[in-house]
C-alpha cells in the first residue's frame, strides 16, 4: 500500500459550550467541565481552576455521563400498589404525591413530631435538611455518619477541632514522611491521589498501614499489613517509644495543648480527674514566668509541663504527667503489642524512630511571623514534616473512637498538627467541640425543635434523655449507650422503629441511603422489619417515604417514592455550613446547577422539601400568610440567612462595594455569579494565618471577618478530653445523672479521657478459635457507595467482587481458581466466589463493597454478575452483638459514638460446592423502571 496518509482534521470542534458545575459521583466534590453538544451532555472533564481537583478527574467523574443517562433513573413519583418489598408501584402526579406526604406528615407534626424519623443518608445538604427537620419539630434526624466515619469526625473534633478529609489534609507540598491508616481506595478520591503524586515527585516517603495492599497502599514505599482492629495498639506503642526517648515537641505541647493543664488527682474528690479551674471556669496551668497558677489562655503565660500544684490537700498534676504514667508502661512496649498487631516489635520501633528522625532532624522554618492568642509574637513557623491521614479502616471498629484519638495524640506529641509539613486544617475548620452546638431534642407539638439536632455533648447533662432516663431519639443517639454520637445512628433506626424502642414511630422518611441493602447490617432481617405486620395486618413501621434518583434496592420498601434528579439536573450548594470543599490555604464553596433540565417528571429532593415545608406551615418554609417561602432550593440557597451576613453560600455576597466573600447581604444574582466563576468561590488564607490556626490571632481574626464564627475563639488541643472523664465519673457514681447499672463497667472502660486501646467488642463474644478470620470490605477507586446506579462503563471495570483470600488461608483450604467458599459468622453464612491475593494480612479476607445487587434493581439484567455472583458481607453482620447470656443484646457499635462496627467482623471460611449463584439469593424485585438498552454507542455530536 502507499504511504499516503489520509487527511485528518486535527482541530475538530470540541463542543458547543462548556458548563461548569460540581461532580457528585462521590463525596469528593470536584469541579467539572460539562461539554455540551446540541443541548446534550457530550463529555465531562475536570475543571483546572477548581481547588479540589485542579483539572484532574477520576474514573467515576469521567463516567458521570453514564450516570446521567442511566436506564435506572426513576421517572415519576411512585405509589406502592403491591405488598411492601414487591416493587409493585403505580406512577402518580407530583400533586398527588405531595398531598399524600402532607396528609401523613401534617397530623404527626401537630400531635407527635417525634413520630417522624427523617434520615437523609449520603446527603450533602445536611445544613438544609437538618433545618427542615428542626422546623418540623422531630428530634429524629441525622445523615449517614453513624454508619460511616463518625469516630473519625468526633475524635478529631473533641481532640483538635477537626479530623481528616473535609476537615484537614497533609501539607502535601512540604511533608517528607506520610503515614496513611485504613483508607479505603475511594476516600478523598482525587486530592489523595494528587497528594501522593506530589510526594512521589519530591521523593518523600509514604507508609501504608492497612491489612490490604491495594490502591494507595500498593504504591506506598512501606506497607504495614496490620491486623484489623489493632491500629490503636500499634499507634500507642509508637507513642510509648517516642515518649520514652523524649522525642516529643515539648514547646508545642506546653503552649498549644492541654498537656500543661492541671488535673485533680484525688480519688476521693468529686472533681477527681477534672481540670483545676479558676473562678471564671478557665482550666489552670502553672506559669513558668511566676511559678504560680494562671489561666491557660492568660496574656503572656508560659504554661509549664512539669509543675504540679497542691491545694486544700489535693494534688493536681499536668496532663502530661498522666500521659507519661500511662504510655511509658510496658503494656504499650512494642514487644507487648507485636503479636496482637501482627507487626514485629523491631518494625514498630523502626517506624517510631523514623517519625522522630523526620519530625526533629528534618525540621525546617518558614519566615512567617505570627502572633499567638497569649500575645506572644513568633518570628517563624517551625515545620515538622511528618503527616498522617486516616479514614474508615481505623474508625469502623468498636474501639474506633479511642483509636482515632490515639492517632491524633501521636500527631500532636510530634508537634505536627497545623505546622508546615504536617497536617493542616481546612477553613472553616478547625473548630473545637465547644464551638459546635450541643444536641437538641426538646419536642413541642406543632412547633420547631428547640435547636439543631446534632452536636457535641460535654457531660451527662447534655444527653438527650427523658425524665425516666429513656432516649429521646429513635436511634438512641446521645444516650448512655453512646453518649457522644455526634452523627446519630442511622443504622439503628429501622431496627429500633420495628422493635418500638424507645418508642413507636409513624413515618420513616429517608433520602439517598440504601438501607435495605448495602447500608444496613443484617440485610435479611431488615427486609423482615420493613415488611413485618402486626396482628391487625398493618405494617409495624406504618409508613415509609423514600427519595432516590435511581431504582435502588430501597425503593421497593417505600410506600411513596419521590424521584430525585441526577446531579447534572439540579441545584445544590456545597456549603461552609455543611461539608466544605476548602483547602488548607483557601476557603471555598461551590454549587451545582442544572446544566440540563430533566426529561422525566422528577424534582430535586431539596426543592420538594421547600414545597412540603410550606404545605406543612413550617417555620422557615412558610410565610406568615401561609405561602411558600422558598420557591425551590435555588431560592433557598440565595435567600436563606442563617446568621447576620451568613447564608448557605459565602461567595459573591452583597457588600457595600459590590460582591464580596465571607459575610454580606443576600445577592439575588449569586447563583449566576457562581456560574460565571466556574461553579465555585475561593478566597485564600493570608500567609501569616495559614498555620497554627487554632492558636493564631492572625487566623482567628480572619475567620471572624469571613463569618466562620462571630468572635475569636482560640483554643488548645485536648489530649485529655474532660467531657469523656465526666461520663466516666458518672459511671463511677459521681453526679446526679447516672447511667443504667448494666452500662457502668463499659463506660468506665471506654470513656477514658486519655486514649486507650481495648479489643474489638465482638472478640469478647465470639469463639475466636471457631471464627479466627477478619473480614473487611472496601470500595474501589472506580466505584462509589451505591447512591448512583451500576454505571455501564464502571461495571466493566468492577462488575465482580470475589472474596479475596490470603495465601495461608488459600493453601490451607486447598482453594483453586474458580472455587467458591462458605463464609460464616455467628450471625449467618454466605456462599461466594474466592480469589487469591498474596498482598494481604495473613488472617484477613475482604471484598469490594456494594458491587452485589439485588435482582430487579438498577435496571440490570437478571443475569448480571452483580446479581448472580455479587454479594454483600452485610449478611454476616448483625446490628446487635451475639447474646452473651446477660439477657441483653448489645449494639454492634462503638460505645462512645455509636459508629457501626462493620470491621469487627469475625468469620470462618471453608470450601463449598459451586452453587448456581451467590448465597443467600434474595427474591427478585419488580423493576419500577423500563428495560435497559442492550447496546450503547453514546455519541451526541454527529
Amino acid at each position: 500500500m502507499s504511504l499516503d496518509q489520509p487527511n485528518l482534521d486535527t482541530s475538530p470542534k470540541v463542543s458547543d459550550e462548556i458548563r461548569k458545575t460540581t461532580c457528585y459521583m462521590c463525596a469528593c466534590r470536584c469541579g467539572i467541565n460539562v461539554h455540551m453538544k446540541e443541548g446534550k451532555v457530550a463529555y465531562i472533564e475536570g475543571n483546572k481552576d477548581h481547588p479540589v481537583n485542579q483539572g484532574v478527574l477520576c474514573a467515576k467523574g469521567s463516567a458521570g455521563i453514564m450516570q446521567h443517562n442511566a436506564p435506572s433513573r426513576l421517572r415519576a413519583p411512585l405509589k406502592r400498589v403491591g405488598e411492601r418489598g414487591s416493587g409493585e408501584f403505580e406512577e402518580i402526579s407530583w400533586e398527588e404525591a405531595l398531598k399524600m406526604a402532607t396528609d401523613l406528615l401534617g397530623p404527626i407534626r401537630e400531635k407527635h413530631p417525634e413520630k417522624l424519623a427523617f434520615f437523609t443518608g449520603r446527603d450533602q445538604s445536611q445544613s438544609f435538611t437538618g433545618f427542615w427537620a428542626q422546623g418540623f419539630g422531630t428530634p429524629n434526624f441525622a445523615a449517614h455518619g453513624g454508619f460511616c466515619s463518625v469516630n473519625m469526625a468526633a475524635a478529631g473534633i473533641y481532640t483538635m477541632g477537626g479530623a481528616f478529609w473535609e476537615f484537614g489534609q497533609p501539607d502535601w507540598d512540604r511533608t517528607k514522611l506520610f503515614m496513611l491508616f485504613g483508607v479505603a481506595e475511594d476516600h478523598d478520591s482525587n486530592p489523595i491521589k494528587m497528594g501522593i503524586g506530589k510526594l512521589k515527585e519530591r521523593g518523600a516517603r509514604m507508609v501504608g498501614v492497612n491489612p490490604i495492599r491495594t490502591g494507595y497502599n500498593a504504591v506506598a514505599d512501606d506497607w504495614v499489613g496490620i491486623t484489623p482492629g489493632t491500629d490503636g495498639l500499634f499507634i500507642l506503642a509508637m507513642v510509648h517509644c517516642l515518649m520514652k526517648a523524649g522525642k516529643v515537641d515539648l514547646d508545642y505541647l506546653a503552649r498549644f495543648t492541654n498537656a500543661s493543664v492541671l488535673v485533680n488527682e484525688d480519688p476521693k474528690s468529686d472533681q477527681f480527674g477534672l481540670f483545676l479551674r479558676d473562678k471564671d471556669g478557665q482550666p489552670q496551668v502553672i506559669d513558668r514566668n511566676t511559678g504560680k497558677l494562671a489561666a491557660w489562655n492568660g496574656k503572656g503565660v508560659e504554661p509549664d509541663l512539669a509543675g504540679t500544684h497542691r491545694a486544700k490537700g489535693v494534688t493536681h498534676r499536668p496532663v502530661f504527667h498522666q500521659m507519661a504514667d500511662r504510655y511509658l508502661s510496658d503494656e504499650y512496649a512494642p514487644e507487648a503489642v507485636a503479636e496482637r498487631c501482627g507487626i514485629p516489635a523491631e518494625r514498630i520501633r523502626a517506624l517510631a524512630a523514623d517519625l522522630a528522625r523526620v519530625a526533629f532532624d528534618e525540621a525546617f522554618e518558614l519566615d512567617r511571623p505570627w502572633t499567638d492568642f497569649r500575645g506572644k509574637k513568633h518570628d517563624k513557623m517551625v515545620g515538622r514534616p511528618v503527616s498522617f491521614h486516616a479514614m474508615r479502616g481505623i474508625s469502623a471498629h468498636s474501639n474506633g473512637f479511642q483509636t482515632c484519638r490515639a492517632l491524633h495524640t501521636l500527631q500532636i506529641i510530634l508537634g505536627s498538627v497545623e505546622v508546615p509539613g504536617g497536617m493542616r486544617f481546612k477553613p472553616p475548620y478547625p473548630k473545637p467541640a465547644t464551638a459546635h452546638p450541643k444536641p437538641h431534642g426538646k419536642v413541642t407539638p406543632g412547633a420547631a425543635l428547640d435547636g439543631p439536632h446534632l452536636g457535641y455533648t460535654h457531660g451527662p447533662e447534655d444527653l438527650l434523655l427523658d425524665d425516666d432516663g429513656n432516649p429521646k431519639r429513635i436511634d438512641k443517639a446521645y444516650s448512655w449507650e453512646n453518649p457522644m454520637s455526634a452523627h446519630g445512628l442511622m443504622h439503628m433506626v429501622i431496627s429500633n422503629a420495628h422493635a418500638g424502642t424507645p418508642y413507636k414511630i409513624d413515618t420513616l422518611f429517608m433520602y439517598m441511603a440504601n438501607m435495605s441493602w448495602n447500608s444496613s447490617m443484617n440485610v435479611g432481617g431488615v427486609h423482615k422489619m420493613l415488611t413485618d405486620k402486626d396482628d391487625d395486618g398493618n405494617y409495624v413501621i406504618p409508613n415509609i417515604i423514600y427519595s432516590d434518583a435511581y431504582s435502588s434496592e430501597m425503593v421497593a420498601y417505600a410506600d411513596l417514592v419521590l424521584p430525585d434528579t441526577t446531579y447534572l439536573e439540579r441545584h445544590d450548594c456545597i456549603s461552609l455550613l455543611d461539608r466544605p470543599i476548602c483547602e488548607a490555604d483557601g476557603v471555598a464553596d461551590a454549587i451545582r446547577w442544572p446544566v440540563v433540565e430533566p426529561d422525566r417528571d422528577v424534582r430535586g429532593f431539596q426543592s420538594v422539601l421547600c414545597d412540603l415545608g410550606a404545605r406543612l406551615g413550617m417555620p422557615g418554609f412558610a410565610n406568615e400568610d401561609g405561602s411558600q417561602k422558598y420557591q425551590d432550593y435555588a431560592d433557598y440557597i440565595t435567600n436563606h440567612i442563617r446568621r447576620p451576613g451568613v447564608g448557605p453560600l459565602a461567595g459573591f455576597r452583597k457588600g457595600e462595594d459590590g460582591p464580596q466573600g465571607g459575610r454580606g447581604e443576600v445577592n439575588p444574582n449569586q447563583i449566576q455569579d457562581y456560574i460565571d466563576n466556574g461553579g465555585f468561590w475561593i478566597e485564600h488564607v493570608p500567609e501569616n494565618a495559614a498555620f497554627y490556626k487554632p492558636f493564631s490571632m492572625d487566623y482567628q481574626n480572619w475567620a471572624v471577618k469571613m463569618g466562620f464564627y462571630d468572635a475569636v475563639q482560640p483554643y488548645i488541643f485536648q489530649l485529655y478530653v474532660e467531657p469523656l472523664r465526666k461520663f466516666q465519673a458518672a459511671a463511677e457514681g459521681i453526679g446526679e445523672r447516672q447511667p443504667p447499672e448494666h452500662l457502668r463497667e463499659r463506660l468506665k472502660l471506654t470513656m477514658d479521657p486519655l486514649p486507650i486501646w481495648y479489643g474489638p467488642l465482638e472478640d469478647d463474644q465470639v469463639d475466636l478459635d471457631e471464627y479466627p478470620v477478619h473480614a473487611l470490605t472496601q470500595r474501589p477507586m472506580a466505584m462509589y457507595h451505591s447512591w448512583g446506579t451500576q454505571n455501564a462503563w464502571l461495571r466493566q471495570i468492577h462488575g465482580h467482587n470475589p472474596l479475596y483470600v490470603p495465601t495461608k488461608i488459600w493453601e490451607a483450604n486447598g482453594f483453586e481458581e474458580g472455587d467458591w467458599a462458605k463464609v460464616s459468622s455467628t450471625h449467618g453464612s454466605i456462599v461466594v466466589p474466592v480469589a487469591h491475593q498474596a498482598s494481604l494480612n495473613a488472617n484477613t479476607v475482604w471484598t469490594w463493597n456494594a458491587i452485589g445487587k439485588r435482582k430487579g434493581t438498577w435496571a440490570l439484567d437478571e443475569g448480571a454478575p452483580e446479581a448472580t455472583k455479587g454479594f454483600l458481607l452485610n449478611h454476616l453482620i448483625h446490628e446487635l452483638l451475639p447474646p452473651k447470656g446477660d439477657g441483653l443484646r448489645w449494639a454492634n457499635s462503638d460505645p462512645v459514638t455509636g459508629q457501626a462496627a462493620w470491621f469487627d467482623l469475625r468469620v470462618k471460611i471453608e470450601k463449598s460446592d459451586v452453587p448456581n449463584e451467590a448465597q443467600p439469593a434474595m427474591p427478585k424485585i419488580k423493576s419500577p423502571v423500563g428495560k435497559a438498552p442492550k447496546e450503547l454507542d453514546w455519541k451526541v455530536g454527529k
Binding site: 470540541v14 490502591g215 500498593a218 504527667h321 523491631e346 453514546w938
Partner: protein
Amino acid sequence: MTQLPPPSAKKLGLVIDLDTCVGCHACVVSCKGWNTENYGAPLSDQEAYGANPSGTFLNRVHSFEVQPDQGEAQLIHFPKSCLHCEDAPCVTVCPTGASYKRAEDGIVLVNESDCIGCGLCAWACPYGARELDAKEGVMKKCTLCVDRIYNENLPEEDRQPACVRTCPAGARHFGDLGDADSDVSKLVAERGGFDLMPEQGTKPVNKYLPPRPKDEMPEFDILAPYLEPIASDGKGFVGWLDKALSSLPGGAK
C-alpha cells in the same frame, strides 16, 4: 501489506510511571469518554447492563501481584494502551492501508473508512492494544488524542491526551521521545524508563518507569539512636522533663 514511513524525528508518546500509578482507572474512563464522542466511531458497549458486559476500550489497567523472594507481596498497576511502536507490526500487516503510522510524529492510527475489520492488526500486535468495535466492525486503538494535541479549539494547556490531563496522581506524561532534551526523555533517563517486551523488536515509543524498591525501610539498628531511652517509667520521665524544659527558651526558672 502496508509500509511504514521512514522513522520520524518527532516521536510522540507516553511515559507511564508504575511507581505512582494507584490503579484508579481514571485514564481508562476519560479515554472512553473522549473517544466515544470524538475520532471515528463511538466506543460501543455490548450487554451494557447485561450478564456479560463488554465494550471497546483503548486503554486498560491491569493489576499484577509480585511476590519478591524476600518480604511482602506487592501489587503493580499496569496501564496499557497502544505504544506507537517504531516498527509497528499492526501497520505492516494491514491489507488495506487503513492502519498507518504518521510520518510527522509517529502516531499510529486507523483510518476507519478503509478498515475492513479483518482483525489481522490485533493479532499482530504483541501487546493486545487494539480492540475491534463490535458494533461498528472497525478496529479501534489509542490515537494519542491526535484530535486534542494539535487542536486549536482547545486551550494550549489542554492540548494533551485525555488520559494525561485527567490522571490524578500525575503518573502519565506526554511528549516527544525523539527529543533527548524533552521533559519526558529526561524523565526516562533519570528513572530508568524501559520498553515493554523489547524482545518483540517493535521498538515501542511509549516508555514505562519502574516501581521504586518497596519495603526497604532502614533496619532499626541504624535508627536506634533516635529512640535512646531517657526514662523507663513515668517518674523518670518527669525528672527528664524538668531538665529538658529548663533548656527550652524561657526555661530555667
